[in-house]
Symmetry: C2
């Protein structure tokens, strides 16, 4: 089953024509979850073959333009393309007014139901859940309210070992019971233990998305041992003061956080427009955490 | 003096990744006027080397997303880039609420004054005037209120013929008076008529921008004899019914309008996403008006 991230945009607030603002999709099996939606996201989706009709849930971290300004255009296009399927948006509550007012002014009456879920109403550790994943909020610390997202795969099914159905002539109706732990008795009366017929389920994969935030120990706890962490590194550490003033993280800090949290892989992005090359930012992050990569626009990263 | 249009985007409501939504700039001398501002305009400005600090006036035809959704991002970027110069926006009044609410939610306090001029307050034939151009509204007929823009160059100055200053030893302080029509008396007492020393001013150039609209005879009157007319042609004429339903114009109609109005050159655009090639639309427009061209993204068209 797919569990992978595609980066649609990865620039910071001042876009350059080489870098688009924040947007990425998580693909789990045939589902596509959109995470942030900066200006131009729908064009980037076209460029990188992300089908908008597969998106049922959109997660917006905060209401700075570089993280949501592409949403209105995307919603309108979905409408023009004839969408009728319900769409859910997880965001701070002002986004609902922003969208609804613009729909009203443009005399647009969407053909599909648009359901808003306000971050302000989050209770406990769960933001969203379907049969594939759970999503938990990550408390971030930015100039305005900001939430990160931790996507965890749900327990995956036990599978039969290859060839056992043929070998022991297991009838179809016995399969679910074997997977649930029952032993199997064949036509000669031999009992074969469930454990000899099945493989343990694959490990549950996890992905954490931390957009704009100050470096923060609470994040470290929350993303502990995730497989892949995307973390913004707007500045290099020589601009720590600027990072603090603007509530951003440095590459060095992101590397430290990744190391302390014992994660699998770190993806960095959201670089200030002052950096024409990402290499120094990456080298800085790798000082503390070697398995770091730049989240490149258009690239897909499998979560293993 | 420059008087030229650069096309930043020219798609219709459903963007494709090859075509960006409506946005163009008119350059007159060193001034840049932005006309409509669809999603992604600021990235397109970067791509085609349009300097945002040269823009003092932005004209928005109507409040369908494909004509204004790039504005919020552009305004934010101007702020982040340190702009302090006043910026004027000409649009329907709801745009002010849309922008101001989003600024409030993102805790953005612009460093530069933003002045809104509501189309609802237009009196008579003038929308805007500076020392280079006048802008008149063109009444368009769309599903929501919509205004086109007619840019006319102001009378250009009389110039001295080349070489006359040296030939007649005209002192610097006499030049303005000669240009205003006074004759010149040289040091030997010879009188040289102003008309022999000067060239008539160049013709005043004009450009008309007609975004989304039904085909309409009133437009024909308004754009009479303009040098260049940009007109939307969302559909070909076999989809006339669809054009009427959605308040758009067909290529055939735009060609007829250009012919009847005796304009110089027709630029067409805003094609429905159903057309992968612009050639048939252009051929249809040329049936009535041969001097038609497709307004290509990234191309600059001099108004002669």
């Amino acid at each position: 089953m797919h569990f992978e991230i595609t980066i649609l945009g990865n620039g910071s607030a001042t876009p350059t024509f080489q870098r688009h603002p924040s947007a990425q999709v998580l693909r789990v099996d045939d589902r596509v979850y959109l995470i942030d939606c900066g200006e131009g996201t729908q064009m980037q989706m076209g460029r990188y073959k992300v089908k908008s009709h597969r998106i049922m849930h959109i997660f917006i971290s905060h209401l700075h333009g570089d993280h949501y300004l592409g949403l209105m255009g995307l919603l309108s296009s979905m409408h023009l393309q004839g969408r009728t399927t319900e769409l859910h948006i997880y965001a701070h509550r002002e986004l609902q007014s922003i969208i609804e007012y613009q729909m009203e002014v443009s005399h647009t009456r969407l053909r599909y139901p648009l359901v808003f879920h306000w971050h302000e109403n989050i209770k406990g550790h769960s933001l969203f859940e379907d049969d594939h994943i759970t999503v938990e909020p990550i408390p971030l610390e930015h100039r305005i309210p900001c939430v990160g997202f931790l996507f965890r795969e749900k327990p995956r099914p036990v599978k039969l070992k290859p060839g056992v159905v043929e070998k022991y002539r297991i009838p179809y109706e016995a399969i679910e019971s074997i997977k649930s732990g029952s032993d199997f008795t064949d036509s000669q009366g031999n009992v074969i233990a469930s454990i000899d017929l099945t493989m343990p389920p694959s490990r549950q994969r996890s992905y954490a998305y931390c957009s704009d935030t100050l470096y923060n120990k609470a994040i470290e706890q929350k993303v502990r041992k995730v497989d892949v962490l995307y973390h913004e590194t707007t500045f290099m550490h020589d601009l720590l003061e600027r990072a603090n003033e603007t509530f951003h993280t440095t590459s060095l800090q992101a590397g430290m956080l990744a190391n302390n949290a014992e994660i699998g892989k770190l993806l960095i992005g959201h670089f200030s427009a002052r950096y024409s090359s990402a290499t120094p930012l990456l080298e800085e992050a790798r000082m503390h955490f070697p398995n770091a990569e730049v989240a490149e626009e258009g690239m897909t990263y499998a979560v293993e």
